[in-house]
């Protein structure tokens, strides 16, 4: 017989749930009448890694924000270790043992403070304790915190300004700080989006250790390979509902179907080009990406998608920005269709038909608060105006065309970019360069933080541009992303080319071996 409470209600379920580190019951949330989470019920057991999947806009961020105390006006109930929890502020969530490491690393660190100060920052921010800072005590505590994560930063590293740390070390810092509070639940939101493969491996080892220590981990990522290796369980959100809940081993077909109902189709067939065809559009000779490194030569051909793979710091962004004139190359020369090409600034490149989709869409591409139409038209205002006067009808039409061409999910061309999910924002950034067919299109990490549906839309568009005669250059740290879209794969490491191959010669294992051999 099931145990019952005094009212005769079956509580065996509740007893089972008391073991969960965090459990959600019928949690829902709406913004201005639009439901973004509908009755989500989920238990997260201690000592387990639960992967949360979902296309952009599925409600992942909202769920995370509820758990981290940012959104407080939700429906349903959240229990922490069996007790009803009032997550009425980020501080309350932390005090209940829920730590969140957000996707944007910049939001977690305080520039201007040292590494040590950043490590102990949460403790500094607490009201209790000695209000006077003591350098020695602070350093000692910082050492403890970093040691807890198995880092071995010397005191000289701890004394550095935090902005001197690389992106992956900053991520580790935030993680170490979160772990120092001995959390019940650790939420990792796209933790590897800025990390190279080797750095990500380090992170995975840490996550596994946390799990073995009995911490519950909610792991949000678009990278299925990571989830396959790391997670014990997988849940999928779609349109605010939990549509799939699997334990290991995962059935990926079913998970992907649950995630992307309509967008489901076979992975884009691998491009078939087996060797160099077409005319050289852009050629680089003797370009040095870093001082002291060998100069490189590179030809980009008409009708071809060239994928450049490399870890963080391989010189991908330097190559992209140099080609675009954002940071001109110090040495070497370039020719575009046989004529000298030396862009001093982006406007020179754009006039020559060389376009760049930059790595960081928020910092480098989008104008906040502006409509889609205005964001799309920004590089080509001249052709949308007469004697300086803007032709807004033409501008709106261009916005509508772009939305249709790339399948941007938006109310209309007057929606502001903030209303869109990350993948759709990225489509807008890519789409703005399609107003005038580019001669060379450079895409720097175009799939970062973008769901699979958007990734396919963007990839398809890039391929069709190549078919129309453009030379397309895709730069990414993700081998699979590049293999999915490129005719030709170039491996870049420390500013030098280590592999340049087509078709079957650019096979996955070979590319990965080349990368690891080059480290």
């Amino acid at each position: 017989m099931s145990p019952t409470d005094r009212g005769g209600r079956d509580i065996s379920h509740d007893i089972g749930r008391a073991k969960a580190a965090v459990s959600l019951t019928d949690v829902s949330m709406a913004f201005g009448g639009k439901t973004v989470l509908a009755s989500v019920t989920l238990d997260i057991a201690p000592g387990s890694v639960v992967a949360l999947l979902g296309a952009n806009g599925a409600g992942k961020s909202t769920l995370i924000k509820i758990l981290s105390g940012v959104h407080t006006d939700h429906g349903g109930e959240v229990r922490v270790a069996g007790e009803p929890a009032a997550l009425h502020s980020p501080l309350a969530a932390r005090q209940l043992g829920i730590q969140t490491v957000h996707q944007r690393i910049g939001e977690g660190i305080v520039p201007g403070l040292s590494v040590a100060e950043n490590l102990v920052f949460e403790e500094l921010a607490q009201a209790r304790g000695n209000p006077f800072l003591n350098g020695g005590r602070l350093l000692a505590r910082a050492r403890e915190i970093q040691a807890g994560l198995g880092l071995d930063w010397s005191d000289s590293v701890l004394r550095k300004d935090v902005t001197e740390l690389g992106l992956s070390d900053r991520q580790l810092l935030i993680l170490a700080r979160a772990l120092a509070t001995r959390p019940r639940l650790l939420i990792l939101d796209e933790p590897t989006s800025a990390l190279s493969a080797a750095e990500a491996e380090r992170l995975f080892a840490l996550v596994e250790r946390m799990r073995d220590d009995g911490i519950a981990v909610l792991y949000v990522s678009h990278r299925l390979g990571e989830i396959d290796a790391l997670a014990d369980r997988l849940v999928v959100l779609r349109d605010g509902r939990l549509t799939e809940d699997q334990s290991k081993p995962f059935d990926w077909d079913s998970a992907l179907r649950a995630m992307l109902a309509q967008a489901q189709e076979a992975t884009t067939a691998r491009p078939v080009r087996e060797g160099a065809e077409g005319d050289v559009a852009l050629s680089l000779r003797g370009v040095r990406l870093f001082d002291g490194r060998a100069p490189l030569d590179l030809d980009l051909r008409t009708g071809e998608v060239t994928g450049v793979v490399g870890l963080l710091g391989a010189g991908k962004t330097e190559l992209a920005r140099g080609l675009f004139g954002a940071e001109p190359f110090a040495t070497g020369s370039a020719e575009l269709d046989g004529r000298p090409y030396e862009p001093k600034r982006p406007s020179d490149a754009i006039r020559a038909g060389v376009h760049l989709v930059p790595e960081d869409r928020h910092a480098d591409a989008l104008v906040p608060g502006w409509s889609l139409a205005r964001n799309i038209s920004l590089p080509f205002l001249k052709s949308l105006s007469r004697m300086g006067l803007m032709n807004t009808a033409k501008e709106d039409a261009l916005g509508r065309d772009t939305i249709a061409a790339l399948g941007v999910v938006a109310r209309d061309e007057h929606s502001t970019v903030e209303e869109l999910s990350g993948g759709n924002q990225q489509k807008v950034v890519v789409g703005r360069w399609l107003a005038e067919t580019p001669r060379v299109l450079i895409l720097d990490e175009p799939f970062r933080g973008v769901d699979i549906g958007a990734r396919r839309d963007i990839g398809r568009r890039a391929r069709s541009l190549a078919a129309e005669g453009a030379a397309v250059l895709v730069l990414s740290a993700d081998v699979d992303e590049v293999l999915e879209i490129a005719d030709r794969v170039v491996v870049l490491a420390a500013g030098e080319i280590h592999l340049d191959a087509y078709g079957e010669d650019a096979e996955r294992d070979r590319v990965i071996q080349t990368i690891s051999a080059s480290v």
Binding site: F31, G32, G33, K34, V36, N56, S61, T62, R104, I105, G106, E107, I109, P111, T163, L167, F324, A326, R345, P346, S347, A349, I350, R351, L356, P358, D360, H362, A363, D364, A365, L366, V367, P368, G369, W370, R374, L378, P379, L381, K382, L384, S385, G388, L389, M390, T416, V417, E418, E419, S421, G422, R432
Partner: protein, 348 residues
Amino acid sequence: MTTTQSTEVPTKAAIPPATSTAARVQNAVIKYGFIFVTVALFLYFALSEGSFRESATLLDTLRYVSVAAILGLGVTLTMAVGGMDMSVGAVAGLGVSVAAHTMVVLNQVGTVAILAVLAAGALAGLLNALLIVVLKIPDMLATLGTMFVIQGTKLILVDGQSITPGMTLDDGTTAPGRFTDGFLRIDRGTVLGIPVSVLVFGGLTIAAWVFLARTRWGRVLYAIGANPEASRLAGIRVGAYRALAYVLSGVLASIGGLILASRIGQGDVSAGTSQLLEAVAVALVGTSVLGRGRPNVWGTALGAVLIGIITTGLTIKGLPYYTQDVVEGAVLILALVFSFTLSKRRTA
């Protein structure tokens, strides 16, 4: 990198369509609140004070605010590129001295004086552009610096004295020239009953609106203000456009100086100093008009008119002149509440 990200970009739909009545009312308050306050105050003064209703009083009000309004238009342009021109008052004051010097000491006609003043304004704008664009000094600090330099230069130019017709010059002779009648008509003359300075104000407002809201150049200025790096990577010559904004601001400030010189009728050394804060206040009030939360031309013009109505109205009501600053300050703070507090809450 990510740490320099200054603008918060939420991933979710941040601005829900206003469906509830409360939200609709709040949106309306944010959007039309300032226009409503302006009209209400106007009606209040018009109904309670007979003299306020006279068209002469109304035109005087507009004439009174025209200088601050024109300076405010310049500030609006520099705010659009994400900057701020603190030197507009000093540039207007420089304009007064240059006009007086050209006509009174150099004995030139009004047209020459006008050209000299405009050139001085453009030069001041170029100086600001040099400091900000080439030498990379933050806008507010650079223009604060030029404010002092321009005020000081002006004092040297006039030996620390006001330039008046008939004054004795350094070499013992009497100043040969005077403010020409044509020049004095800038502020005192009328066309079809409307003061020339009010017409200038109206004309410049329309021109600035077309420029900022309807041309690609204005679009570019706003883009630079919202995200300079994205603008650069979209092929915009960011430095050139920021320089343009400061030069235009300098020229507008010097036009304000022309009106001021015509109004005072002599080269008053202290002219222009009080105009700075009014101009900045007017432009800031303007950001809250129509709930845009960003600098815009009609907002600036309406902000100037609002401040004019309040000061004129209160003067007629018998409030002493020295209470004006408090009233203007309160209006500014109220506007900032509209701009920041209320509209932030709307997007929370």
